[in-house]
């Protein structure tokens, strides 16, 4: 039994390892038979950087097979801290003492660490464990073991040896040989095993029998898949017909399979008759279009027109048909004819008031137009058309009820995308025009989130980060959304402002929610025997544990803590995460870093895909982060903060490799400069030279303005840390001399910019005044600008807001 000691804990937490070691030695004297304190002793030695001693003590203890789970967990952490590749601690002890309780601890530990092999081995061992009076549902344990075999076969298929891939499903089937699946979940496990064992026929007949008793969705899909794989077209056609007609399950995928099976079966005529006699629904009408792929006598254009006629006034129309068409298809005449038939010209000529249906048709019409011929984005006429459509349907904005959206916002997004395509560069003036148009649209359509996402991104490029932050808050983004969409605000946020709470909120999400809730939920899923959710639970846990955003946030937090001189947070909380990232990236394919960022919602309007010409231009300022960017940044931080690691020389090698290979389009000039300083310092060949410090940007209304000064401060602190924490002789005296002189120069620049902050304010005021004049003229007199119908008072209000926001950005500079 472990006896925890609060004093020792407190000493470890405060970093007083000497005291902790003394206290633990006293405890060992008091409890010489308690393995826990011996493990703790090894851990304290590891934390004191006495690596060799720590490993010796830990190995000695492990060789005595301690059976206290807490002791074992500490031993695992000691080996990790010492970067020592030990044997599997739990496995070794469980072999010696195969009791239910100990193996169950191993099972839970494997869930906590998302160790699939550990889960598989422990669940299998649980079926044979010495129960010692513990009463457990043996049937459940067998299904746990079986499903864990499925999990390993699926997740480790690229790393697991071929004989094991063959053996595991057989082992599972043998384990439940005489047990008949009693419910949908057990049937699911059985079917997955049959699937992996290649017993498709047996699987099909087993699923067929089960589905007679219970119409389970998951099993139905497995049955369909099984019949399709077997090429049992007759059976597939019959079962699809049953679900579609008899059970009235109007499901698109079932329709598609039905058509495919009918075609293979030479029964297309029957299929056509069924579709035509079916109630008119989106699925059945799209089934007609799908049929044209198989029945060449049917006209695609007619079916396309039929759909547009029936659903052209529904927002899903474009998205439904998009999968059947491609850019360049000649379908525009069909759309034009419908455009005329619906009397849209009368609306545009103000002869008729638009209805909601008219508006949605017009939105779909422009989406099709832009998608079928993407060259329209290069034409000023297209911008005019978008504005004209927006203006003609604007009266509908007055009918909006609370929380309702106005679909016409899409005209604005399309117009702005076109405006970006037609501009030479992403200038401050262009960005200001875009934000004013978006703000105007948002003021009338306040719940539309695409408009907000666009504004958040554009404001960050304008150094108006308080505006971005306010909009981000208004979206009430939380929990999992933080992982997927916070990048719209958080990209390089640490170098824009000191008011960067979202970085901390995001960090808390991982530590307080993801890390603590998910293992318990995976365990609960086992207990509830919801096998058809388990694989996804574990994948979800792995993807959050190894989230790309989590690690980009670590990089941001390091910068912000370094700028604000919080070294202890870097040492205690962030450095371990850097090491974890490095280890994860170097591991097998199960544990790769997972990029969960949602890059699609931002583009889920207009033609519903990224427009490269727009995206490239947006990326010229504060570019999106890439995986190699993050790797480069993390390795750089490891070079600075993990100097005693046995991997340090590997960090240097990889850093120099990445430094020369990461494309300049994913780095800012300041980041390139920062990296070049580190590269020059660590390059053993002394061929890499640091880039000369670049001049400060002139415009305050630009991301690069705050980014420049924040990076200057950050680099000066990096140098300070390196100079005071690197062992003598690590770098040549010339390099140290260069670094010292750079530090002096940086300090003088930082001192002078701190004195200049008031002057920056004056510069920004002049800049805003001048931009206001130009932008106002554009909205008033320009052929295109005037079409956006921006009220002068509204524009003035925007500039007042920008003036305050830039004031807040400049104020941040005084805090660093």
């Amino acid at each position: 039994m472990s006896t925890k000691d609060l004093k020792i804990d407190a000493a470890i937490k405060s970093g007083n390892n000497k005291l902790a070691l003394r206290l633990v030695q006293e405890k060992i004297k008091q409890h010489p038979n308690s393995s826990y304190f011996y493990a703790l002793q090894a851990q304290i030695l590891a934390l004191s950087n006495d690596i060799d001693n720590a490993v010796v003590k830990a190995k000695e203890l492990l060789d005595k097979f301690p059976s206290d789970p807490e002791t074992l967990k500490i031993l695992i952490s000691v080996f990790e801290l010492c970067e020592y590749d030990s044997e599997d601690v739990f496995e070794k002890v469980c072999k010696k003492y195969p009791t239910f309780n100990l193996i169950y601890e191993r099972f839970n530990h494997s869930i906590n660490t998302c160790d699939l092999n550990g889960i598989q081995k422990s669940t299998m061992a649980l079926t044979k464990a010495i129960m010692g009076g513990t009463v457990v549902d043996q049937r459940m344990l067998k299904f746990w073991a079986c499903f864990s075999l499925v999990l390993v076969c699926f997740a480790c298929k690229e790393t697991l040896k071929a004989p094991l891939l063959k053996l595991y499903p057989q082992m599972g089937l043998r384990l439940i040989d005489k047990i008949k699946p009693a419910n949908a979940q057990e049937q699911y496990v059985y079917s997955r095993l049959l699937q992996l064992a290649g017993k498709d026929e047996e699987n099909a007949s087993s699923l067929k029998e089960f589905l007679k008793k219970e119409n389970d969705l998951e099993l139905k899909l497995m049955y369909f898949e099984c019949l399709e794989n077997l090429g049992y077209w007759h059976d597939l056609s019959e079962i699809c017909n049953k679900y579609l007609v008899e059970l009235k399950e109007d499901d698109w995928d079932t329709w598609k399979l039905y058509i495919k099976a009918s075609s293979k079966n030479d029964k297309l005529e029957e299929c056509v008759a069924i579709i035509k006699s079916y109630p008119v629904t989106r699925n059945s009408q799209l089934a007609l279009i799908e049929l044209t792929k198989y029945d060449l006598t049917m006209s695609f254009n007619e079916c396309f027109l039929n759909y547009v006629q029936k659903y052209g006034h529904k927002l899903c129309c474009f998205l439904d048909l998009k999968i059947f068409i491609k850019p360049g298809d000649l379908l525009f005449e069909i759309l034009e004819s419908e455009f005329e038939k619906r009397k849209i010209p009368d609306i545009l000529n103000k002869k008729q008031n638009p209805t909601e249906n008219d508006l949605v048709f017009m939105v779909n019409y422009l989406k099709f137009k832009a998608y079928l011929c993407q060259d329209v984005f290069k034409s000023p006429e297209f911008i005019k058309q978008c504005c004209f459509f927006y203006s003609s349907t604007k009266p509908l904005l007055t009918n909006l009820v609370k929380f309702e959206y106005f679909a016409g916002f899409e005209f604005i997004i399309l117009a702005l995308q076109s405006l970006i395509v037609q501009s030479d560069e992403l200038s401050t003036e262009l960005l200001i025009k875009l934000t004013i148009v978006l703000e105007n649209a948002l003021s009338k359509n306040p719940y539309e989130f695409h408009l907000k996402l666009w504004l958040i991104k554009l404001y960050s490029k304008l150094n108006l980060i308080s505006e971005s932050t306010e909009l981000f808050k208004s979206l009430k983004i939380k929990f999992i959304q933080l992982d997927t969409i916070s990048h719209v605000l958080n990209t390089r946020l640490s170098t824009l402002t000191t008011q960067n709470e979202t970085l901390f909120t995001l960090s808390n999400f991982y530590t307080q929610h993801a890390d603590t809730e998910l293992p318990a939920m995976v365990s609960n899923c086992f207990q509830e025997q919801s096998y058809n959710k388990l694989q996804s639970f574990i994948e979800f846990q792995l993807r959050l544990q190894n989230s790309y955003t989590k690690y980009t946030n670590v990089v941001e937090l390091i910068k912000t803590n370094r700028i604000l001189d919080d070294q202890s947070t870097i040492d205690d909380d962030l450095r371990p995460l850097l090491k974890k990232y490095y280890k994860t990236e170097s591991q097998d394919k199960i544990c790769q870093i997972s990029d969960n960022r949602d890059m699609t919602t931002f583009w889920n309007c207009g033609i519903h895909e990224t427009i490269k010409a727009v995206s490239d231009k947006l990326n010229t300022v504060n570019p999106e982060l890439t995986s190699s960017y993050t790797r480069l940044m993390i390795v750089k931080e490891l070079i600075i903060y993990d100097t005693s690691s046995k991997y340090h020389s590997a960090y240097v090698t990889e850093f120099l490799q990445l430094y020369s290979s990461v494309g300049s389009e994913s780095l800012t000039s300041l980041e390139k400069w920062n990296l070049s300083i580190i590269a020059e310092l660590v390059d053993p060949t002394s061929t890499v030279k640091a880039i000369d410090i670049i001049s400060p940007p002139k415009s305050t209304l630009n991301f690069n303005f705050n980014h420049y000064y924040f990076t200057l401060v950050d680099v000066s602190k990096q140098i300070k840390y390196i100079l005071s924490n690197t062992k003598k002789g690590t770098f040549s005296s010339d390099k140290i001399k260069n670094l010292k002189s750079l530090a002096t120069e940086l300090n003088s620049r930082i001192k002078s910019f701190r004195e200049d902050v008031l002057e920056f304010k004056r510069i920004s005021k002049r800049e805003i005044q001048s931009l206001k004049g130009d932008v106002s003229t554009w909205f008033k007199n320009d052929d295109l600008g005037s079409l956006f119908e921006i009220d002068q008072d509204f524009m003035t209000g925007c500039f007042e807001k920008y003036d305050n926001a830039i004031g807040s950005s400049l104020l941040s500079l005084r805090k660093i």
Binding site: L217, E218, L315, L319, I485, N532, N596, D598
Partner: protein, 188 residues
């Protein structure tokens, strides 16, 4: 076009186009995970052909004897797929699932804000009727509910639809709007 698919935990990464809507709540992770593990067949999504979720149904079963029922905790749709009957489609699917084995529920119910006329009309079209008014259900911790003080802004209607097993319609009632209960009375 629509297919109904089982919801999986990893779908949570793809819900922004649905959950960024101001009326849709983004819940704690454990909330979703609890539904997935406890009622795996009652949490499902509608998907587009590219497998993107277009909406989802989050439901559970609860109650005893003739109160044994399925409860719709959330049903929500991506704005691009609204006004095409998708929410109704998801609700009908739940009725079909829970009316049959292994559930055999007596009715389906849901709570809706008393002032949400659009939703109430939709549910009425689907055959739901108001069973009772839950006074102060959406009032939060600061409001002490009082049956004498009805307020459409914070009151909920508990709406029910009998399933075939409730042959005599014993689980529903007429004039349910006038039958008032407090939030504590609706716990199962």
């Amino acid at each position: 076009m629509t297919s109904i698919r089982p919801f999986q935990a990893t779908d949570l990464f793809t819900l922004n186009p649905i959950n960024l809507d101001p009326l849709t709540e983004d819940f704690y992770l454990y909330f979703y995970m609890q539904y997935l593990s406890s009622w795996p067949s009652l949490f499902y999504k509608s998907v587009s052909p590219s497998n993107e979720p277009t909406g989802y149904m989050l439901a559970k079963t609860e109650g005893k004897r003739k109160e044994w029922h399925s409860h719709i905790s959330a049903v929500t749709i991506n704005p691009n797929y609204r006004r095409i009957g998708l929410a109704s489609h998801l609700c009908t699917a739940l009725e079909k699932v829970t009316a049959n084995k292994p559930y055999d529920c007596y009715f389906v119910d849901l709570f809706v804000k008393a002032n949400n006329k659009l939703a109430i009309t939709m549910y009425e079209k689907l055959g739901y009727t108001v069973f009772r008014r839950v006074v102060g259900y959406y009032g939060g911790v600061d409001v002490i509910p009082d049956k004498k003080k009805i307020d459409d802004e914070i009151d909920a209607f508990d709406m029910r639809k009998s399933l075939p097993i409730d042959i005599n319609g014993e689980c529903t009632r007429k004039n349910g709007r006038n039958f008032k209960v407090l939030p504590n009375d609706v716990r199962f």
